[in-house]
Symmetry: C2
Subunit: 415 residues, 2 copies
């Protein structure tokens, strides 16, 4: 296991920071009335990478002047490595650039974080074995829980890029068509079973124009974010057959503000679990392409304290993002810079490692009791949900920051 | 019914042209080595609207200098009306601008057509009653043909914007996972049941950031294109449960090169059919929001002659694009300029009015015999498919041009 790389930014050496020098995640921030601009998290600060480029301290062909990381991603892997290398050298303890760089550091506490990149298209997968079994059991019964194709295909559906928002954005409870099994007709109103999904999103950093192999897919992924795929389970249950989830998943998908690069996660690679059925060759992984990332979900009721309702790990996934991207391209589907691939809900084998309230409360039948005594089947208005995650190194952690959203009451229904 | 508006461009007065002065559809063309640029079809010519704006003959705030119509759409309905009005005046028989404009006319035969706009996101609906019943019967049997939600929800799924191509782009037969009902394991190879879907695509021309009513949705639609949603039925059958179509629909979706505006189609508005079950208020149409557009599909085998395999009409749809857009926004899903909404396959009640080969050949069991004697269950390599459509006026037609694609053999599968 690699060690902490010490930085002259002292806060980056603290064992509990998400942003040691080993991480260097990319985000977009504004501070002091500035326009949103590219920055790099280091300890409790943000390095103003946009202004550094403008002042000639970094060379990225102007890509950092665009208010997002898409243009930089499009420059390709050698450019990715070059910037990371330059930043690492400049920020390492003992660097002679310390005085030159000090003026480019902004306190995170004084900055507002924005979407780190423009989401081109968004695809959500369903690649957690435990999640698929749990949900399948509730929707279709235990005998039909795992669909026949599940062990052969990293199943996914196209989501809605326009609804992806950055951490901190309030989420308005959706209205939609609701119909209980005994209702003669559907009605239109606020979702009563509004839920979260704990996921990790992979960001495509290189375009492809035809089928790509798993190894190439792995190389094309620029980095990862935490992702909460808000889901209205009652809308979903009525709408999802035969064409899949649509408005139940279109209200909002929240991502963490920092892109943790594949390079930073490199020491934490791990293998997907043993195959229960052999995969077709186009999905075979040539090496470990999943990551060991500890994850948790916190729920804070209005005016209350947080309860951690789930602890799990990204290594639970049955399919890696590289396998998902290879499958995504298998029909010839063009992939573009900024495409976001949700992993699917990350549930572990135990009850307290489930990644959605649907599973944690077993469809509301076994509500959770929170620290303050309140109970929860699904998300209530003004609940604050927070996802957190980090790969754990020896004396340091490569973290994502937090991915939060408060749920606001539904809009009034007219007519 | 409105009459032909005569133009000094003589070819625009021919009864069989798709592009009389009543139409004025918007596209993107290049000619003589130029960059792709905004143009307007009139008879057998294209008016170089981009150069007219650059020369001060049109005022669109520079929107026509962007190589696509998105920026113009974003300017809003008054700007849409103003340009249409200006073009109509300039091109009307007897206009004093005739000499000034002659130099801006390019023969369509000498131009290459490009994507008329950048597709922001693509959604495909399933709103044809006959199509849903036919396909449901084949996939799930006649008793479960129409899903329980179908008469209440304009069902749709998110498609893949990156795969939308302009008419004339060759389409490579996809590879994918295939599994017959009696196969123990899936295999990976070329789709054997590659199909077309005859649809009309609605283009969102104004953004919305929350639920919108059907009337507002109707106003937000800028125009329409023909749309062929290529579909690999065998890949679809194996992958589609429980999350809907994914790689079966991601190879290509072909659109016609001309955006026929809602303004041009205004005289051809018609109502959706009588409701079999009452709709929830958020989906109620305040007036006729569908259009009477005659449609046909031609199939030409390699080196052969064309057979028209289907004739149908857009008025067959159960839900209008306005209803689909209102439903799309009902969860709060933000809609953006350039979003493309496929109508769903447009099948009529009779066998020869079905909009897909799946239905026309009843899953391949009743193959079609083409003019030259060849038979077809699904699309064969080097078949050329052409969609055509026009609203029929009194002595003129408001047409879409054709929407064509030749199917090329699948890529070799490695490994």
């Amino acid at each position: 296991m690699t060690k902490l790389i010490r930085s002259w930014v002292e806060s980056a050496n603290a064992p509990d920071t998400d942003f040691p020098l080993n991480n260097l995640p990319y985000g977009v921030f504004s501070a002091g009335g500035s326009d949103p601009r590219c920055g790099v998290a280091i300890g409790d600060r943000i390095l103003d990478a946009a202004r550094m480029e403008a002042d000639g301290l970094l060379e990225c062909g102007g890509a950092l002047q665009t208010g997002g990381w898409n243009a930089f991603m499009a420059r390709g892997k050698p450019a990715w490595a070059k910037l990371r290398d330059a930043l690492t050298k400049m920020l390492t303890e003992g660097s002679d650039r310390q005085d030159a760089l000090r003026g480019y550091l902004v306190y995170q506490a004084e900055a507002t974080l924005h979407m780190p990149f423009s989401v081109t298209e968004y695809t959500d997968f369903y690649a957690g074995r435990h999640h698929a079994f749990n949900v399948g059991t509730m929707f279709r019964g235990p005998d039909n829980a795992l669909p026949p194709n599940w062990l052969h295909i990293p199943i996914g559906y196209n989501g809605r890029a326009s609804s992806v928002v950055v951490s901190g954005t309030p989420v308005i409870r959706p209205n939609g068509q609701l119909k209980g099994p005994d209702d003669a007709m559907p009605r239109f109103g606020p979702s009563q079973r509004f839920d979260i999904e704990l996921e990790i999103g992979a960001i495509v950093g290189q375009p492809s124009d035809g089928p790509i192999a798993v190894a190439e897919a792995f190389d094309n992924i620029f980095g990862y974010v935490l992702l909460n795929d808000w889901s209205a389970r009652d809308i979903q249950a009525w709408e999802y057959q035969p064409l899949g989830p649509f408005q139940s998943k279109a209200t909002a998908t929240t991502i963490s503000p920092w892109i943790v690069t594949a390079a930073a996660l490199e020491p934490f690679r791990t293998s997907t679990p043993e195959r229960e059925k052999p995969l077709l060759p186009y999905l075979a992984e040539p090496g470990p392409m999943l990551y060991d990332i500890a994850l948790e979900v916190g729920l804070t009721p209005e005016g209350g304290v947080e309860t951690v309702v789930s602890r799990t790990n990204y290594r639970e996934m049955y399919y890696s993002a590289a396998q998902q991207l290879a499958h995504h391209s298998s029909s010839g589907c063009p992939m573009r810079v900024g495409d976001l691939l949700g992993s699917g809900t990350i549930s572990g084998p135990t009850k307290d490692s489930r990644g959605s309230l649907l599973e944690l409360s077993w469809g509301g039948k076994e509500p959770l009791t929170l620290e303050g005594g309140e109970i929860r089947g699904f998300v209530e208005d003004h609940d604050m949900l927070a996802l957190r995650g980090a790969a754990m190194g020896d004396g340091y952690r490569v973290g994502f920051g937090s991915c939060t959203g408060e749920v606001l009451p539904a809009r009034a229904v007219k007519g």
